[in-house]
Amino acid sequence: MKWETMARGFLPVLGAGLLFGAAHAAAAPQHFERHFAVKGRPVVVIQNVANGRIEVKSSKNSEVVVAATQASNKINIDAEQAGERIDVTATITDNSGAANELEANFQLTVPEETELQLRTQTGLVYVEQVMGDMTLQSVAGDIHLKEVSGYIVVRTTGGSLVCTQCAGKLDFNSISGNAQVVQPGLTNVSLFTMSGNILFDGDFIRTGIYTMKSGKGTVEVHFSGNDSFDLKAQTATGTVDNQAEAYLKPDSHGVRHMASKFTKGLFGTVGTGLAKVELSSYSGTIRILKRD
């Protein structure tokens, strides 16, 4: 009788304990790490259907290290190598999980010369000191690039771009994300956001072509006194705030530009007009100023 009473009290506790244990195992973070030896310039592809951060840094080693932390076993991570291509995929195996259970964060270490194709839903994408073409896509996550070079393509829905000391070509397209380009060494820039703001703070390389467009946001350009570029700035219903009148001369190439009767425009040349800079905003402000 006594044993029976004890069993009655003990069994529910044991059951609850087992249930808790199972739930805990499903929710417990899991670590994943793989090393892939490469010879030349690898191509690393990450397709993160789950949410999470992707961080990429370079090393002198000829290997790609993929480390990941997944919040629960409701996510499956696969990584495979085919020659110089490394493919990593994170998929959700159980959609019923809470948002914090459907996270997979990646840390990659790659050779300095590596091509990247990274895609995530939310969470920061951070790439530092990598040389190679890259395509970076995110819905709501921001994208931060530091000292990267190559043909850089960035697509976001609402995520913003911060590009510091980037070189090569940059193509950014977003609906509501901002774009901030600081100290660039870029020869070709195309930035488009529908409602975000754009800030370009750096030198215009001679022969470079720079196009920056925002539907409703501000487009702000800070140039240096040594720069040399032709400028065309246009807005349909916004304003052009020219704080560099002293540096902006009429076009020196003999082509007389005029804004259409439907737009407000500003045309001119800084220096000898070697680079080409086109700024536009449908209803926002275009601001041009010289750095101190």
Binding site: V139, I175, K213, T235, T237
Partner: protein
């Protein structure tokens, strides 16, 4: 129902809304969901094409003569069979993917065209805009319920951005009605339509089809 049968149903009955017969299969098949998303993007982009893309009859005549001369086709009788073989060569999915590429190029060409100088041409352009706007609105009305009710950060972000695009489109359309010659507004409107088509495609792919 198999993927091939879904393709037939979509071909016969259209995909807006998704026919009842295909829904169960689509709900669990990412490949077919992708197909519907691609088709949606194609239709949206197709409405950006100008009416003038139809080549003159003499081009077709010359092309047919050339093909016959080279023995690639054998006159009018074999045309149907040739066309069928051509369509068999490309599966619906491959055609959809190729179509997206071709239409995006066409949309870019449209965007680069000089502003309409002739009243008829201008009217056609605005009709194209109307068609595009209507198609995209229809697509938006048929977004999967999961996408519209989702509370995840991504779902919320997608809906917020769709709202931004919609408001911007309304703004640009209003401007073009008032100032038909505003080329800058036309450029922005074309870009907004493209972004909306891409966004709807992402939302459909993410939310599944019901």
């Amino acid at each position: 129902m198999q993927c091939k049968e879904v393709e037939v149903v979509l071909e016969q009955q259209g995909f807006v809304p998704v026919p009842e017969a295909a829904r169960a299969h689509l709900a669990g098949c990412s490949s077919c969901q992708g197909l519907v998303a691609d088709l949606t993007a194609i239709v949206a982009t197709a409405h950006l094409l100008p009416a003038e893309v139809e080549p003159p009859l003499r081009v077709w005549t010359r092309l047919r003569a050339q093909l016959e001369e080279e023995g690639l086709i054998k006159g009018a009788k074999t045309r149907t069979a040739w066309r069928r073989r051509f369509s068999e060569l490309f599966g619906a999915r491959a055609l959809a993917t190729a179509g997206v590429g071709a239409l995006v190029v066409a949309a870019v060409v449209l965007q680069m065209r000089p502003p309409a100088s002739h009243p008829t041409e201008a009217r056609n352009t605005y009709e194209n805009y109307d068609d595009t706007s209507l198609t995209l609105s229809n697509d938006e009305a048929h977004l999967p319920s999961m996408q519209l009710a989702g509370s995840s950060k991504v779902d919320v972000a997608l809906r917020q951005n769709l709202d931004i695009v919609d408001k911007f489109i309304v703004d640009c359309e209003q401007r073009i009605k008032e100032q038909p010659g505003d080329e800058l507004a036309r450029d922005y409107l074309t870009g907004a339509y493209q972004q909306k088509a891409e966004l709807l495609s992402v939302m459909m792919e993410r939310g599944g089809v019901y």
